[in-house]
């Protein structure tokens, strides 16, 4: 057995020990002293099996997962599954789902940078900011940010990005809110969803692009889909959290006065969860903005594309100005959504009424 083999053996045995410890800890009837004993036994069994397997020629410990072909051909399986999806349903998906949505997005995009004159847009956003925060300073900042974007001659890509973000967040909300509500109401569903959400958030965002592009091709729709998937977890989580944070006695009161399940949800839980839901929308928007540059690699137009050009053509200025616009857009959207979230709480915070 080589040195590397010994190190990996130790790592594997340690991992099995830790896993066994975690599993046993969940059972209350096992005393702490016995827990270590049981976990040790599990790790010992694992070590023996590994060494036997190594001598039997499977080369588990030597690294590389067992020679020329992987022991577990997961990559191959996924490749074949996606290939099958593409050949069987690719055309149908493109025609029925992707095309109409791409058309709608294109329409929205053109509306944003052709349908409305840029000063009107800037004023609309400034008013929006004032309505949300009741602060002139924020309104002035928003207007100034839009003027700056226009002055940098990045108005069109900014509006394209804004359109991508808006549509993605809409998709995220349509899928994420029901999921979050279901999680808030059902412990069992929550147990299933939590690891799924962890997985979605931890998986590098780049990975989402591959199957999406195979199914829907390069372009806006794939960008929207990848962005929506990447941005969904915070909204789902915070919706669930918001429902669960509603005071127990308030829920008891609703039940005691004869509220049905749906009445409790619509009249008590959701209104009280709204500030958290709004925080989720805010976080999702920030996640979506983080996806902008990555999405440009699959042909999504907008500010991300400008950044990408800057990289390809070795023009740091182009990259920086486009990045600055992303930052400005992020600040504007963040402040406005946060202010709305605060206003939703203002109704029932002492002193503010």
């Amino acid at each position: 057995m080589s040195f590397g083999g010994i190190v990996s053996l130790l790592l594997i045995v340690g991992g099995v020990f830790a896993a066994a410890l975690i599993l046993i800890k969940a059972r209350q009837d096992v005393t702490p002293a016995r827990r270590f004993g049981l976990a040790g036994a599990a790790a010992l069994v694992a070590a023996v099996l590994l060494v036997v397997a190594d001598f039997a020629g499977l080369r588990v410990l030597a690294g590389g997962g067992g020679g020329d072909t992987p022991l577990l051909p997961l990559a191959d399986l996924i490749d074949r599954a996606v290939d099958w999806l593409v050949t069987e349903y690719g055309d149908a998906l493109r025609e029925n789902i992707s095309n109409p949505i791409v058309y709608a997005i294109g329409f929205f995009e053109r509306f944003l940078y052709q349908g409305i004159a840029w000063p009107a847009m800037a004023i609309a956003f400034a008013l929006f900011a004032y309505h949300a925060s009741r602060k002139w300073t924020l309104a002035v900042f928003v207007a100034a940010a839009f003027v700056l974007i226009w002055a940098l001659q990045l108005w069109k890509p900014t509006m394209q990005t804004l359109s991508l973000i808006s549509v993605s967040i809409l998709v995220t909300a349509l899928v994420g809110l029901p999921l979050g509500i279901a999680m808030g109401l059902s412990n069992r569903f929550r147990t299933v969803m939590m690891p799924a959400l962890d997985f979605m958030q931890t998986m590098p965002s780049f990975v989402y692009l591959i199957p999406v592009v195979m199914l829907f091709g390069l372009g806006t729709f794939s960008g929207v889909l990848a962005t929506a998937v990447y941005a969904a977890p915070p909204l789902v989580r915070l919706t669930d959290l918001g429902l669960r944070l509603v005071d127990k006695e308030v829920m008891e009161a609703a039940t005691a006065f004869g509220a049905s399940r749906s009445q409790k949800l619509w009249r008590v839980q959701l209104p009280l969860a709204l500030p958290n839901v709004m925080a989720g929308v805010n976080q999702s928007i920030m996640m979506a903005l983080a996806m902008v540059v990555i999405a440009s690699m699959i042909g999504v137009r907008g500010l991300g594309q400008e950044v990408f050009y800057g990289l390809q053509r070795q023009e740091p200025g182009t990259g920086f100005t486009a990045g600055l616009c992303i930052v400005l857009l992020a600040i504007v959207l963040d402040r406005i959504t946060q202010a709305y979230g605060r206003r939703m709480q203002a109704h029932y915070r002492a002193g503010e009424h």
Partner: protein, 406 residues
């Protein structure tokens, strides 16, 4: 029932066990395994065990116990915020535990309303909207809601919150918030009101205000009120009847006076030891027998019956039995020496009390003269007497006499 009122709510052998598999634990407890042992061995908590209670109509029924005694669990069984592991809850003879979801919702809307310890108000609704919440659940559309707002306004006035209709709960003080909670419950117009430590979160002065307000409202509304508290003074003040709960079991049920004068167990006795007895004991309970003579009797005859008490006090009544005053032994002896034919000139005025007055009210009367206070009925007829000494003796008596037969 001893007081002749029929039971509005009956609990029959209600048992609640918290845990994964409560049904498995039932035979263990029935076999006499202690609650501590059940928790240790199985991880199950016994919340209530075999609680049987009759709650009479139109009275305030107080359930009292320390934290962990199961009193909040008990009240939540009445409207099934908690389902029992075993046993039945009957309201007007109807088994609440057998109701399906739909019937249960209807039951909660029409028969019972509830006031919570930390108020349980809806922070996103105004005072007016909070009070009409329960009513709003039963209507759809604006006209119905407007009608509910009008009903809610009546209760806003009843609890003294005029002018706060459009305030949000967080802008109100604790006492005012609980008034909203009370109005919200009363607006449901249910004949049963559940109050779960409703005043425990309030400052002492505010708490007393709220107790007064509840007593005042109850004198008009005559609802069946189940009131949970850990505060014995509050229990004695409000409760027509009191049940004492310990470790999920009822240890004694009775009027405040019964519990004070005849505690069923050592636990109850310890519990009532520190209570202000002068607020609970009534003149009728501690009064002494007394001698009554009519004004027309001869002084010698009166003295002969006066016995040899401290002052040899004799109450003098007219031909109808109405109290005129009292004479002392020394005055009677002087009358005999002076050969007076009648006692009328000897009679001194005395303070009177009624049998239902608490000692706290009687005590000042005894200080207004040397003669003992006469306890009289509604027609002015003498029932007994209370000397300063007898009152102090009653107040000083520790409740250490265990009398399990009661």
């Amino acid at each position: 029932m001893s007081n002749g009122k029929r039971a509005k709510i009956e609990l029959k052998g209600v048992t609640k066990i918290f845990g994964d598999d409560p049904a498995r634990i039932l035979p263990m407890i029935a076999a006499g395994v202690s609650k501590a042992a059940v928790l240790e061995e199985t991880g199950h908590t016994v919340g209530l065990y075999d609680v049987t209670l009759d709650i009479p109509e139109g009275q305030i029924f107080v359930v009292m116990g320390l934290s962990g005694s199961g009193k909040s669990t008990l009240i939540r069984h009445l409207n099934r915020l908690i389902d029992p592991t075993a046993g039945q809850v009957l309201v007007d003879g109807e088994d609440v535990t057998a109701l399906d979801a739909k019937a249960l919702t209807a039951f909660r809307r029409s028969r019972m309303s509830m006031v919570f310890q930390r108020f349980g108000l809806f922070p996103h609704r105004t005072v007016l909207e909070n009070i009409s919440f329960g009513l709003d659940l039963q209507v759809s559309g604006r006209p119905g809601r407007e009608a509910n707002r009008e009903k809610a306004r009546i209760w806003i006035t009843a609890v003294g919150l005029d002018g706060y209709e459009d305030a949000y709960p967080h802008a109100l003080s604790g006492g005012m918030q609980q008034r909203v909670g009370l109005a919200r419950a009363l607006a449901m117009d249910a004949d049963i009101l559940l109050m779960d430590e409703a005043f425990s979160a309030l400052d002492p002065l505010i708490r007393r205000d709220m107790q007064d307000q509840l007593i005042e409202l109850q004198s008009r509304l005559k609802k069946t009120i189940v009131f949970i508290t850990h505060d014995l003074d509050e229990a004695l003040r409000l409760g027509d009847r009191i049940a004492i709960l310990k470790d999920g079991e009822v240890v004694q049920v009775g009027s405040g006076e019964e519990i004070l004068t005849a505690p069923a167990t050592r636990y109850v006795a310890d519990f009532v030891e520190d209570v202000n007895r002068s607020r609970v004991l009534t003149a009728g309970t501690v009064q002494l027998d007394c001698v009554v003579v009519t004004a027309s009797e001869a002084p010698a005859a009166a003295l002969a019956r006066a016995g040899n008490g401290e002052l040899q006090v004799t109450y003098v009544v007219d031909a109808d039995g109405k109290l005129l005053g009292a004479v002392t032994g020394s005055r009677l002896r002087r009358a005999i020496r002076e050969n007076l034919a009648s006692m009328e000139s000897l009679i001194e005025p005395v303070q009177t009390a009624t049998a239902n007055m608490v000692l706290e009210e009687v005590l000042p009367l005894t200080l207004q003269g040397d003669l003992p206070v006469a306890v009289v009925d509604g027609h002015g007829r003498v029932q007994g007497m209370l000397s300063r000494r007898s009152i102090i003796a009653a107040l000083a008596e520790t409740a250490g006499v265990v009398n399990p037969g009661q």
